[in-house]
């Protein structure tokens, strides 16, 4: 009897140890990735790297200024395209949560969220690049905004659903029209959740490369024209990583460091927003 109990206790301990070991072991890649990025990345980053254009191989120096600007332009473009639509659809889903259309829309959001980024890249190519016969910043923005959309819709819907019903009732009881209740009472109360969703979606698209391969394409030079190809940090990393030159590999690490900093920055701000502006009921 006692042996039996001991055996069970031992089994319990062994299992616990295995779980802890496996969980810790899976952190190993993260530590290695962060270590590689910081070690190789910081060595390259200086003012020149941030402020200069790429130079052809063989010439020393140069930087990724155009990629930084390009990424910023792409982020702004896709935000403009997706945020209004995302929030409006989110409001619809939270207001009509049991309707037939809402179910269909929700299914579509799930499918959109799971659509591989490369497929979205092809679609943006067919919609924007092929008719205009040129890779362009606009097409990149379209592709990225399609990727942002489901995240924003979901965040808006989830946030607004958490709003207590008496908030809406109080506003309606005061004679505030329905649409003003939504826009001036419910939406501002849930702004922290929506902002968090937007920031998370930005974090998602900032690092996306696959949809940009045939849309924004990449550009060695500075470009402000939205109808011309534009560079971006993830594309530059890909381009440099696949090249055979060690100098460019170093640049890829530098750009990676910046990209990770931006993405993690978005994540951190999102968390800060969620924590700071949390409305208590």
């Amino acid at each position: 009897m006692k042996d039996h109990t001991t055996a069970r206790m031992i089994k319990d301990k062994v299992f616990r140890a295995t779980v802890i070991l496996l969980a810790c072991f899976s952190m190993l890649p993260l530590l290695l990735i962060l270590y590689f990025i910081t070690r190789n990345g910081i060595a390259v980053i200086n003012w020149e790297f941030l402020s200069q254009l790429p130079r052809p191989i063989g010439e020393d120096g140069g930087g990724v200024f155009n990629a930084i600007v390009g990424t910023a332009i792409l982020i702004i473009l896709s935000s403009i395209l997706s945020i209004p639509f995302g929030i409006t659809t989110g409001i619809y889903l939270s207001e009509k949560s049991d309707g037939k259309i809402a179910h269909i829309v929700r299914l579509c959001v799930v499918v959109l969220q799971g659509t591989p980024s490369i497929v979205i890249g092809i679609v943006a190519y067919l919609w924007v690049v092929a008719p205009f016969h040129s890779f362009s910043a606009i097409s990149g923005g379209v592709a990225l905004s399609i990727m942002m959309l489901p995240v924003i819709i979901k965040a808006t819907e989830e946030t607004l659903k958490l709003m207590p019903y008496h908030l809406k009732e109080a506003s309606l009881a005061l004679g505030v029209p329905y649409h003003k209740t939504i826009l001036k009472v419910i939406l501002p109360t849930g702004i922290n959740g929506i902002l968090t969703g937007i920031l998370l979606s930005l974090a998602r698209i900032t690092g996306e490369t696959a949809p940009l391969l045939f849309t924004a394409f990449g550009n060695q030079f500075m470009n402000w024209n939205l109808f011309k190809p534009i560079d971006s940090l993830p594309y530059r990393i890909f381009y440099y990583a696949m090249s055979p030159y060690p100098e460019w590999h170093a640049f890829a690490w530098g750009a990676s460091f910046m990209l990770v900093a931006v993405v993690l920055g978005f994540n951190l701000i999102a968390r800060g927003v969620a924590a700071k502006w949390k409305v208590q009921f």
Binding site: R8, M9, K11, D12, F15, R16, V19, L22, A23, C24, S26, M27, P29, L30, I33, F36, I37, T88, I91, Y92, I101, A102, V105, L107, C108, V109, V110, L112, Q113, G114, T115, P116, S117, I118, V119, I122, V123, L126, W127, E169, L172, G175, P177, Y178, I182, G207, T209, A210, F214, P234, I237, F238, A241, A252, W253, S256, L259, V263, L264, N267
Partner: protein, 323 residues
């Protein structure tokens, strides 16, 4: 155009419904701005549906030349030759299947360990906060950086292993891609696993504990059976991710359009062949690549719908049991 008409039809109906509910709540005035508001909401929602249908329609329309030329033989044709204009997608189907299933297999023990760790052993505390935020950071790192890291750390290691085993030392190939994919999908399935494990009702666990069960027995006989379908759905969703993942795989798979014969062989997945070839493709080659994209889209859609449906059902059952 017909699509737009039907959209408006639904719109009017819906607004009528809304006026009824508005009547019931607080007011029975229905001014124009109210109507407009409802219309805008509906339009945005319908736009999402139209967007998805348009994506599907575009893919189908653009791949019609390839569908006409190859039909279903596309799926078992083994040659992919742009010069001869002969396209069969079997090598990529095989590449995608092997890498994603292998990655899922590697990912399962780790993600279940993390879910149990966070959902049962260490629900709170510094240790769990550290692990949870690490998982989040891991999930946030862009795919292209995984690829870069794989090129400079994983590839030399794999090359050394291949030399040791006496196979051709490519360094890149199916196994390397599967490894990087596994690392990328662990956070995803782990977070879903954690969620379903925390959904297990406390009284079930307490009942088992009060009968003298050890922690391990509770986990094996109560928690895992209860959370099983949710965990499986999480794994299914991460499989969907692995199937569609592009950049890291493109950088590590070796870009070879032949049927792989071994686990170390360079190959191509559906996503990576598009990434590698689409920018230079024209005519029937482009159509064939879009055909591949269409298949990829349909496969991930099915996987996602099934996975999401199962998870929703699990959450629904759990909420019923609590009340």
């Amino acid at each position: 155009m017909t699509e737009m008409c039907s959209v408006n039809g639904i719109g009017m109906q819906d607004i009528n419904e809304k006026t009824e509910t508005a009547d019931m709540t607080a007011k029975n005035t229905m001014d124009k701005s109210e109507q407009r508001f409802g219309k805008v909401l509906l339009l945005a929602a319908v736009f999402v549906v139209v967007l998805l249908l348009a994506i599907l329609a575009t893919l189908v329309a653009a791949s019609i030349p390839a569908i006409k030329a190859f039909g279903l033989t596309f799926f078992w044709g083994t040659t992919w030759d742009a010069a001869a204009e002969k396209f069969g997608a079997l090598p990529f189907l095989a590449g995608t299947l092997i890498t994603s299933f292998l990655a899922t297999l590697i990912c399962i023990p780790f993600s279940i360990a993390i879910s149990i760790f966070l959902g049962e052993y260490f629900k709170e505390g510094v240790f769990s906060a550290f692990l949870r935020s690490s998982v989040e950071v891991l999930a946030g790192i862009p795919s292209v950086i995984y690829g870069l890291w794989g090129l400079f750390l994983l590839m030399p290691i794999m090359r050394a292993i291949e030399m040791y085993l006496g196979v051709t030392p490519h360094g890149v190939g199916l196994l390397t891609s599967a490894l990087i994919l596994a690392i990328m999908i662990i956070p995803f399935s782990a977070s879903i696993g954690r969620e379903v494990i925390t959904l297990v009702p406390g009284d079930l666990k307490e009942a088992a504990f009060s009968l003298g069960a050890t922690r391990f027995e509770v986990i094996r006989n109560v928690i895992i059976p209860y959370a099983r379908s949710g965990i499986i759905a999480g794994i299914l969703l991460s499989l969907g991710r692995a199937i569609g993942e592009t950049m890291a795989v493109t950088m590590l798979i070796g870009n070879s359009n032949f049927i792989p014969t071994g686990i170390f062989d360079p190959s191509n997945t559906m996503a990576s062949v598009i990434a590698n070839e689409f920018a230079e493709a024209t005519g029937i080659t482009a159509a064939s690549l879009i055909y591949v994209a269409l298949v990829l889209f349909l496969v991930t859609t099915v996987v996602n719908i099934v996975g999401t449906y199962v998870i929703k059902k699990v959450a629904l059952e759990a909420s019923k049991e609590v009340t």
